[in-house]
Symmetry: C2
Subunit: 296 residues, 2 copies
């Protein structure tokens, strides 16, 4: 396939070559891992656990890197000083020298970006930046991973709150979760159902849930996608995953209800093969009820 060949070319020429140059700029004599860590701590400081997950480092390795930067007088690591906080978590912060070094990295990163733009005449510069933004935005879709998550997880809670907020802005007269039919956590934990989370680099950017009602079609709830990744097909993938979950466990149909204000969602349901059915519940915020028969 031709598209695949084009992506491979891009990976080889852009990703590898520019990536290597960027690393070189960043490192400036220091081991790359240290430079990256220094950069990631940033002027505002960061919790050690956050650094570990953002950089994907082994706990022992990270600890050693922090000791080195501490030894060089660039960083201090101390207990998190927010009152009532977890006494185990530690926070890394830059010293004066560390901030100076960080600013130097920032300057060099700017310089590198400028060196990429410099050889191009003005109009081409803008075209390059526009194309970069497009690649970035579309690639983000590939980096979104969807997986199960306990509905009580803080990330899941954050998504549900964001869902209520978004929906409240769009419905006539807002949205009061207390008036809507409640969804209990237990109903979204296997085997009764599942809550799926879409994440981008560990940050939650979408969610969806399905309840497996015994002897009735499975019910899809709380499908939400963050603005950050809207329009990239994440909602459709979420729907596919939820359907697959129900189908694999023997359910032959799924259904859902929705509000007339959510026009793109309605269009997505229709294009995904959902057909309108009679109301199957008394959800006060619903105007449409959809159902889809599942394969197998």
């Amino acid at each position: 396939m031709d598209l695949v060949a084009a992506v491979r070319r891009f990976n080889r020429t852009v990703t590898q070559r520019v990536g290597a140059l960027d690393d070189e700029y960043m490192a400036r004599g220091r081991p790359l891992a240290q430079a990256r860590l220094l950069w990631e701590i940033g002027p505002g400081g960061a919790e050690v656990a956050a650094l570990r997950s953002r950089l994907g480092l082994d706990s022992g390795y990270l600890s050693r890197l922090l000791r080195t930067l501490e030894g060089d007088g660039l960083v201090t690591v101390g207990p998190a000083d927010r009152a009532g906080g977890d006494g185990r978590v530690r926070v890394a912060a830059l010293t004066g020298a560390g901030r100076a070094e960080w600013a130097e990295l920032d300057r060099r990163s700017d310089e590198f970006a400028r060196s990429i733009l410099a050889p191009l005449p003005g109009r081409r510069r803008e075209r390059l930046v526009a194309a970069m933004a497009e690649v970035e935005r579309l690639l983000v879709a590939s980096l979104v991973v969807i997986g199960p998550c306990p509905p009580g997880d803080p990330r899941a809670r954050a998504c549900v709150r964001a869902y209520a907020r978004d929906v409240g802005r769009r419905f006539d007269g807002g949205f009061d979760p207390a008036l809507s039919s409640p969804v209990h956590d237990e109903a979204l934990v296997p085997p009764a159902g599942v809550f799926l989370l879409a994440s981008l680099n560990g940050e939650p950017v979408g969610c969806g849930a399905v309840k497996l009602h015994p002897g009735a079609p499975a019910e899809i709830k709380r499908v939400w996608v963050s603005d950050q990744v809207r329009g990239l097909g994440v909602g459709r993938r979420m729907l596919d995953e939820l359907e697959r979950y129900a189908a694999e466990r023997g359910w032959a149909a799924v259904r859902l209800d929705t509000n007339r204000a959510l026009t793109e969602a309605i269009a997505m349901y229709r294009s995904a093969g959902y057909g309108e059915v009679e109301p199957y519940n008394t959800e006060p915020y619903a105007h449409y009820w959809f159902e889809k028969r599942l394969a197998q």
Copy 2:
């Protein structure tokens, strides 16, 4: 500046993240350097010197990597068997197992590219690929480096031959270098003049020369840019460099002659500040003579 910020974002999200993933796909258990080397050798084999320059490796390090791959039965290294060849150069070739491994890397590279495209709906896929191609093409301009080169160097010779070939295709009645006023190598070596080569990853993609005539304007000759990078401003950068060379050595003006068939070149000279002057030589292929006064 906003453009710089956009480029930085691109570097961070695309280059680093996709680059790292690509490496992981490529490595599959084996050290990355070995995987890259195996890939670079390819089914057709490659000379050791070519591998060294393409991968930018130390001679000793490369030799050791080859021994390891040889020890694993993936590669054989032997003398180049073309008759009359240089007896020192050695050629690395894949064994049966090596070819199988190479095919596996090829397959995985395809798989990775597919995994990037998979989450996107059809139209977005095409937009991504188009944007990638645009980024790639425009970034290439930043990777072109221009520097002095002896006119006798094989890369310089190749450029001059390509120049004659290109020009021959465009002039009415072709181009016979023997009829054109000759340019001797000595005139293009400092301090008499200079020959500049534009390279992309070590491959020659353009050239240009300037002769510093004592007591007369400096003369620009043989400005050529390969199709590969045409339209990216490389010609203009070459011109700038040649002018700078002359200006720094005290020349107050440069001039050049050109053929009416080279319409884009003529437009470039005009936009770069060149003005038409009376013929200053009897070059049979010239229709226009241009001159530019240099600053300082």
